[in-house]
Symmetry: D2
Subunit: 442 residues, 4 copies
């Protein structure tokens, strides 16, 4: 059997002291952190599109990425070799999950039927490879943004034929996701937004998006797909404004159309920062609003205004993300999908391994720090104390919805002695505390 990456051996955990580049310094899959193994906490997934289909083009440059299957001409043969190589990659890294778009894994045909046939053929191969390599499907999705028919959107296209086509495509994508045992199905509204309000019927487009998602949820039920349905927010790019701008915009939308029990959020770090939020914020908001479904683990560059989809190597980012995830009792059935691409200048197969290792270790390290923070309770105890007045007297009445403005005014006049004494927020001390956890974890 062909080995596609013969220069790379299986990547092993060697511990933090190792100088071996292509090894895990922190990720030791079976190691217990609390009562779960690292791999159960982290549920890492590889993103098929970035890692196996993307060629490294950018708006100013041609393909640079070098992959063993580059020279194969026949699209289906190429798709198959790519798949075999991809599963070798996952096995060598010890990744448990992958994610894909329909069009990543199989080439389109001349008609929807032919396209679906291609897809089915590749899916059969995937089934074999998944069994062989012991890899599972975290989620599937449909690519509703690349083909010119989707230039004005898919579910929000001004053309009803495009809506219908998108529906047919998602139907099939949900079905193959089910066939591959996917734990989730994701909707990313790539062009569900607008380029200019001058030509856009905002109300109709949002109504149509809700109709589309309602039909999708119905279809999931009809076919017995038991995975979680997820929507991935992004504020802009490629459109000027995307309707699922951030988790909060998504929440407003779901609540408006009565869909809040059927969908959760797939939160991407770089999309959060493009929306003007810390990744941490979006996770915390989603957790508090019962919307935290899964995570696209990457990072952006805070100095750049587009989606750079870099591998997540900032350990503040990974630590605070894992802290929220631990508070959420984990992500399952969601996971941490590396929706990240190697830089266009990192075009060698080795870089694909190195990049994933950097991301995996950053999250494994973040998990260890976050677990210690949570076990020691240092942040939560601080908060318990900070808000303690809401567990007694007037604070308790407020929280139990048992008071009103009249009573509170009387309380102020009769009982409050000015100036009210506040406690300090101690932000700097807590930042120092976080650093002391980071610099004592290894």
């Amino acid at each position: 059997m062909t080995e596609y990456f013969p220069e790379i051996k299986k990547v092993e955990y060697e511990g933090n002291k190792s100088r071996k580049t292509l090894s895990f310094k922190h990720y030791n899959p079976e190691e217990k952190v609390g009562n779960k193994s690292m791999s159960d906490h982290l549920r890492f997934s590889v993103a098929y599109w970035h890692s196996f289909t993307d060629r490294g083009t950018d708006p100013f440059g041609a393909a640079t990425i070098q992959r063993p299957w580059d020279e194969i001409e026949n699209p289906m043969s190429k798709a198959k070799e790519r798949a075999r190589a991809a599963f070798e990659f996952m096995e060598k890294l010890g990744l448990d999950y992958f994610c894909f778009h329909d069009r990543d894994i199989a080439p389109p045909g001349d008609s929807l039927k032919e396209t679906n046939d291609n897809l089915d053929e590749i899916v059969s191969l995937f089934q074999e490879l998944m069994e062989d390599k012991d890899v599972e499907l975290l989620w599937g999705t449909a690519n509703l943004f690349e083909h010119p028919r989707y230039a004005h959107g898919a579910a929000t296209s001004p053309n009803s034929e495009v809506f219908a086509y998108a529906a047919a495509q998602v139907k099939k994508a949900m079905e193959v996701t089910k066939r591959l045992g996917g734990s989730n199905y994701v909707f990313w509204g790539g062009r569900e937004g607008y380029q200019t309000l001058l030509n856009t019927d905002l109300g109709l487009e949002q109504d149509n998006l809700a109709r589309f998602l309602t039909m999708a949820a119905d279809h999931a039920e009809r076919i017995g797909f038991e995975g979680q349905l997820l929507i991935e927010p992004k504020p802009m790019e490629p459109t000027k404004h995307q309707y699922d701008f951030d988790v909060e915009h998504l929440a407003a939308f779901l609540r408006r159309y009565g869909l809040e029990r059927q969908f959760k959020a797939n939160i991407e770090a770089n999309h959060a920062t493009l929306a003007g939020h810390d990744f941490h914020h979006e996770l915390a908001y989603a957790r508090e609003n019962d919307l935290l479904g899964s995570v696209d683990a990457n990072q952006g560059d805070p100095m750049l205004g587009w989606d750079t989809d870099q591998f997540p190597t900032n350990i503040y980012g990974t630590t605070l993300a894992m802290y929220e995830i631990l508070r959420n009792n984990g992500l399952a059935p969601g996971g941490l999908n590396f929706d990240a691409k190697v830089r266009r200048e990192s075009f060698k197969p080795r870089d694909l391994f190195a990049a994933h290792i950097a991301g995996i270790d950053s999250f494994a390290f973040g998990l260890k720090v976050a677990h210690r923070l949570k076990e020691d309770g240092v942040l939560e105890e601080f908060k318990q104390d900070r808000y303690s007045s809401f567990r007694e007297e007037v604070g308790k009445k407020i929280c139990q919805n048992e008071t009103n403005f009249d009573e509170l005014e009387s309380y102020v006049i009769e009982h409050i002695k000015e100036p009210i004494v506040l406690n300090s927020g101690r932000q700097e001390e807590l930042e120092g505390l976080l650093n002391s956890y980071i610099t004592t974890t290894n």
Copy 2:
């Protein structure tokens, strides 16, 4: 009777050809635009805080603003002279409305009771002046962000006494708003947010904010206040993250807590742009979601990352805003409040007049352009045509919720001939069209 701005005469409409600086070139209050007068369309309001209380400090500099009441020592006397001058200002500009915070108009006392007494005394003076000058109150609000007690927030403070104090303060502010016949009451969550998630209980704080607003709505009903209740979104500043980040975050919040029928949005242009949205977008979203209550008419500098609160002089901004407002059948009971401040370097009384004139004329001009655009129907007809496929056949079934993925897949396979033919979005042509309206309006 003292004249406070003797160097400025009543500002008159002189038409666009006039070279007189302190005159209206476009705003002619009684002139009909469609079936309403300009003043009824625009419902201009002056912001008491920026125009009469603010001194022109910034984080790096001391007060610069020169006003006729600067030298008065006694706080109540100063408050009264300021009020008299303010109403002279409104009369000279022909403004119909004003807005205020409780603490703008009257100085605090040593206790809440004394503070409220001061407020009542000034409110009595306002009643006289309003009658005398024929000016009405667009909205009142409470300043819950300036006093140190609100350092950690008001309704979202970790200290229950602060919550109670804020409740008592809003109670009074609502009562004086009612007394002055205010058409609306506004909540701006100045510090209802966080500086760091490390010390913040996001869930409790948002619950408390909802409790506070629920009590406020109850109180409004109890006292028979029939004005509209409004919440003003802002993404950040002074906090790192403000819970009412933008209209969509607000919608998610209101819908979560069942408050969506009791509150609408007061949308500020500069807050929209700080949140990463065009002002136009926030208005359009609010209109479509039945949340468009009132407008804080100002503008930011797109190159600067803080709230500059400049007078609105960009006629694209005013035209597109008025277009949405016309589509909303106007703003009443809301209005256009100039929540804008003269630059710290524009410290003369003359600048206060000139700045309002620039803003008023920009909106009056925008109204005229928007009215022509709407009457001619050029944009709406383009959209009608663009989305026409949703009024027939499969599109109609989609919009009537009478189809599903199975049926749509069959439709695609049986009826759609690829490639689907799309119409162009014609953004550039529409931008040119907008310009041709702007350059032919005078």
Copy 3:
């Protein structure tokens, strides 16, 4: 002879009242504005790459643009048909100039020699077409960013063979620019920057960039190219940091390496805003520093963080740009090159015409407003007055470099009576004044 855009007739000036979409409302080429015709003031140029080579791909989508030469298979035949269509386009719009990259106009061959031969063949055709259609070359340039060899930069590549290749390519591009009578030659440092400092020798890369440009200037002299040499700043994208970040970074670079007399700036509006500057600012700085060479006339979206290269339709932008250009006594030998692309959703040939018309009219209108502002002298007189104290007494001594700190201290102690009385900056009044010029120009 084939007509490529038969559905579009020659675009004529019809004046501002015309409702005809594909006509000029403001641009009347022969009309005098001051002592020059509009066409001499504006020196419009079409950007060959965006308008004739670009296909409408974006990072998330495939080509959408529909052009008459799409179906031609043979690269050289396609290049020729494209050229013929392009010159028909320029003629129908009455554009006087065009700009190109070497690789836009002719396909690469299997070797540099073959590539150069292709280029020469197409250049011969261009010579014919230019003569036939009476169109001139504003500037030529070399594409040093698209081919994978330039992944790490061209003049700043860590690979010396790439430097050499880039040199050979620029040599040829300069030569064909000369052959076509180009008025300027432009350097845009597409990937002359870095993605991460972790792998970058900043000092060597900037030295090499200077070496490259020095050789280029020498070569221009050697071949007798008398056009102006221009460098186009851009802050980022595709790289994280581009060395020619903005005009000021460029000035620092040129002055460091003694190149400030050999190069000027080609200033793009969208690049200015990405760098955090108003377009107006970059033009003003360049004018004051004798660096204003030519302009890439487009605009960005202030809410988006990447180079959107939209057609320039904002009349504030065009007015203030033309104001600086008039103060510069025009741009010649530079011009206004529409470095702008139709939106990917504006995929029809008609859109290409409509977009250019929108841009042309916006600049023609801006010229008319700017000319009136300049003739009336309203802004310059305000400034004359504002700075008048520097034309007398101590101010004059300061400006003549005839004083020092000791003397100034004595002056303060002896002559200055505090508080120093300042004049207001009157920003709002000036913004209103600008609007009054805009709304009275037609």
Copy 4:
């Protein structure tokens, strides 16, 4: 003798395992890192204004900060008590340096002479306290932005009296800096910029700024001040555009006016990020351009668009900064000045200690990581290898300026075999490497 912070004992190094909050986990002043002690590497300085004068106001709120000298009424008495407390603070933290503005340390009088007398009196006290506590002056500066006279700028004011006043003020500030043995003198151009170009003579203002700095350098020489002269870039705030936007703008300015040998840059992290640059970038550029003078050690929030001046706790920031500083052979005579303020919500004296400890430890940790990175040579070796082709053959000729375009073209045609083989940039691997150094340092 009064102890101002009796609740805080001298802060001691306790090592990374200590759980004691107010202790150093990493900063051990006498510990050698390489051949220098930590304190010699880091040269920490406290910023008098933020830490002792600032009251915690923000644009929306009143003072919150609680300090032991708050209740003192008499300005000079307060200034003296504040000074004594400040030096107790420095001693307890073991800080070696401080920085100040003239107006931070002494109150203004009714005339310049009285103001200078006040300053002299306090400076005498400082001399005593500095000797007593063994603290030195890193730099002094003049506050040319707070007083209303500077509303339109100081050296760039349109009013020549203001220019003269600023000159007199800087003269005195330089003299007291010399008297206190300051190692540097800093110019921060607080309002040396503009709010709108509509009222600004850009050329005159920049010329005047150069005249002012030239006189300042002359004055330094005249009085025998041997410290380093520094200019601190900032892009905006309080002005829309500040002339010393970033280090590169500063370089362009200094080179234009022939001042590049007399001034270096004082680089602030938060100012760098506001200008769209990584802090690391500005340090690297300054080092390569011989402009790295001193550092204002703080950090901003990448999601916020204003100068938040937070204490520097991000260890990526501190590590990469120290890496550049080590490559620069240190900062002396500059240092690391904590130009950072406690959050307005961290209003207790304890927070002032905690915040400095967090910043100190973050830089001490960064120093340790950076030192290991530099000693091991991992990054520099990677770069040596990456650029090796410029040390041989054609690359060597390029670097020795011994070739030209003709020769390079011949070289390409004769010697280069396409495709040119590039090495990968390996960004992700290097990011992983950086993390492996961070997570193994303690």
